[in-house]
């Protein structure tokens, strides 16, 4: 595999992750518990769309086959999607969404802080923009973690259940395959194994403040880098891609 081919895959992984995450957050539109939160969540969705566009646009350039960000987002099937599993998890109740977002947001802030040092100028540029958004997303999700966990007995129980649900998808964020390792060694990508300890201490701090616990179970699900997903992704893509596929040249 050439560096370009590896870089293309790398762009797809992050681009798909943000795109799928954006769609999940977009699903909250009109479903927030108050108008303000509805707008907060759709704002977050739009930040992720912006990140997805940046990654996929650059991915298309690196691939060099003339595919646009839309081609990559809307004309690839489930098995070709390489988003992190955590991004595709259904929204569930509000606590499920907050726990999922928090685990990812903490990762995202650390990841992009590292990526800002990339020797690849485009990736470093993407990172500098996304860091600010990630910092805000983390503020949003970690504040809600504490509000829910340290709220009522019911909200605490729901958050605890949500954390247990999402936990086995967190290991996937830090997985390094050959592509990741090669790009990290070349100073282009991030060595995610190196940010895991920091992530864990961020998680532990918030979880403690929120009066919940992380599961002792160490088993983690894997597969996203090979296009193996939970059953939730296919349904989501079918809906997300239906318009672009029914009207391939649709314009605003």
């Amino acid at each position: 595999m050439t560096t370009e081919e590896m870089l293309f895959q790398y762009c797809l992984r992050m681009g798909d992750t943000h795109n799928v995450f954006a769609h999940r957050m977009g699903e909250w539109c009109t479903n927030g518990h108050i108008l303000e939160e509805d707008i907060a969540m759709t704002n977050i969705a739009l930040d992720h769309i912006g990140s997805a566009r940046a990654w996929l646009m650059y991915g298309g350039e690196v691939e060099g086959k003339g595919r646009t960000e839309d081609d990559l987002a809307y004309h690839r099937d489930e098995r070709a999607y390489v988003n992190m599993l955590i991004s595709e998890l259904p929204n569930g109740n509000f606590a499920d969404t907050i726990a999922r977002n928090f685990m990812f947001d903490a990762f995202s802030l650390l990841y992009y802080t590292e990526l800002a040092n990339s020797s690849n100028e485009t990736l470093a540029g993407i990172a500098q923009k996304v860091i600010k958004e990630a910092r805000y997303h983390l503020k949003h999700s970690s504040n809600w973690m504490v509000r829910l966990g340290d709220g009522t007995e019911e909200s605490n129980q729901k958050l605890q259940a949500a954390i247990e649900e999402v936990w086995l998808f967190t290991g996937n964020m830090f997985e390094m395959d050959e592509i990741d390792q090669n790009l990290a060694d070349a100073g282009i990508g991030v060595d995610c194994a190196k940010i895991k300890d920091q992530w864990m201490s961020m998680v532990m701090k918030t979880v403690t403040d929120a009066k919940v616990t992380i599961p002792e179970n160490k088993y983690m699900l894997s597969g996203s880098k090979k296009g193996i997903h939970t059953e939730a992704l296919g349904h989501m893509l079918a809906e997300m891609q239906s318009l672009a596929r029914a009207y391939p040249d649709a314009k605003w």
Partner: protein, 97 residues
Amino acid sequence: MSVDNNQGELWEVFIQSKNNLPYKHFGSVHATDKEMALQNARDLYTRRGEGRGIWVVPSQYIVASDPAENEAFFDPSEDKIYRHPTFYAMPEGSKNI
């Protein structure tokens, strides 16, 4: 603070559009605590680059004049045009006093 409905308390939002300009009232948001009030204000009122600063204040702490007392409050100033600075010559080049 008691929460009578599940939307939280009402907070008034003031935005500063640029450094050094005064904060202006923009609207209100619901929130259950000050952090949430600030974030909701940010999400609702600064999405299009409107602000560089935000204040939020619980609406209950805003003391408002009573519209029924408007005559007593405001009418006495109506015949005192000499209080307007229109009797001064503007220094050349300045736009505001």
